[in-house]
Subunit: 228 residues, 2 copies
């Protein structure tokens, strides 16, 4: 009985990891679609989001079923409830990847992002995807230090977001209002996606330590030159 | 014992209604602050969001406590789990009202919204607030027809959002890129806020009927002239 129970609890964890990996891959492909104006790739991301939604639905039903039949308490109960919240973060992240893909479609065959912002948007996409992969790793490893270290990558996302705004608000901006609107929305999608990845990791921190991530100290950065 | 139990279940419902009313009021004040460049009003909205977060925190702890001690099953279990999701919608709505208030602060003493978009933004703010009040009503009344009728107001929000984009993308747009960025973000905040209000109402529909709102038919519109 208790074995089947822990199997069910584990399979909720596996579903979360699957969702995180799916949305990370979706955001990678959406970014490529956006930068290359690749319609087919964008369409694949949009259609693929159904799979994320289906996973969330299945996870939710499984969690409610487990609550009803096994009536977990204490830590296990917190795990189930927190998993429900994490699945909502991941489902929303899938939506955001889809929004990026739709932006790619909207302006095709043209490109929504002007050349001089390619690098910044490319970096935001890369960082968003990396943060989500890290969230997936933290779901598996429950490594608190690794989770807290994500704050740094998220700070870098904020820096990139500010860079985007500096370009937009520069008086020499020459790409017109439509592109400004697209860039504003794209920036917001990446920033929110990163927030959700960090939120997932922070919920793991809370499960493991009982403390909220913002009260804990992230591990020190070891400069590459000092590594043995 | 069971009386205390239903009292706890009810008080979770009351918390949700309180949250919905708080964020509805926050969005009303944030919109006024945005349109009037009223710094003090904006600051009040930003500080007031702490109260929404505290309510969500309390609700979450109460729900987990109730799951652990009372181990509800069937409908009651679904109510508790759904309440957790609704509280997340409402907490996020509070953030969005705060974002609108921050936009007001960012451009003060100037106004972020140009005169010719005052009406559209005003209407979006009014509609956002009304949708959230309707969500609060649906939480109390569990009135499925009323919940489904909200789709129409939400469609109107989409129309207003499109109007905003038409202005932005009009070749005669004369307010510059900074204002275009502000208007783009404001539009997105109102649209998302409305989505969360509708999501809350749709979750009530699912609790009451066991069906998802998008599979049900909204009640017919009765033109005002045909009323007795």
């Amino acid at each position: 009985m208790r074995d089947a129970y822990h199997e069910e609890l584990n399979s909720i964890g596996t579903d979360l990891v699957d969702m995180a990996q799916l949305v990370s891959s979706a955001m990678r492909r959406a970014t490529t679609a956006l930068l290359d104006a690749d319609l087919a790739l964008a369409q694949g991301v949009i259609e693929g989001d159904e799979q994320v939604n289906a996973l969330q639905h299945a996870l939710e039903n499984r969690a409610i079923d487990l609550l009803a039949r096994q009536q977990p308490v204490a830590t296990d109960l917190r795990i189930v409830v927190t998993s429900l919240r994490m699945s909502a973060d991941l489902e929303r992240s899938g939506d955001l990847a889809k929004h990026v893909a739709k932006l790619a479609q909207l302006r095709a065959p043209g490109r929504a992002i002007p050349d001089d912002l390619n690098d910044t948007i490319g970096e935001m996409g890369e960082l968003a995807q990396r943060l989500m992969n890290q969230a997936a790793d933290v779901l598996v490893s429950r490594d608190v230090d690794r989770a807290l270290a994500m704050e740094r990558d998220d700070d870098h996302m904020d820096t990139l977001h500010r860079t985007l705004f500096q370009h937009l608000l520069d008086k020499h901006w020459k790409h017109g209002v439509e592109t400004a609107v697209d860039v504003t929305l794209a920036g917001r999608y990446y920033e929110r996606f990163a927030d959700h990845a960090v939120a997932v990791a922070n919920r793991v921190v809370y499960l493991v330590t009982g403390e909220h991530a913002d009260t804990l100290t992230p591990p020190p950065v070891i400069p590459a030159g000092n590594l043995p």
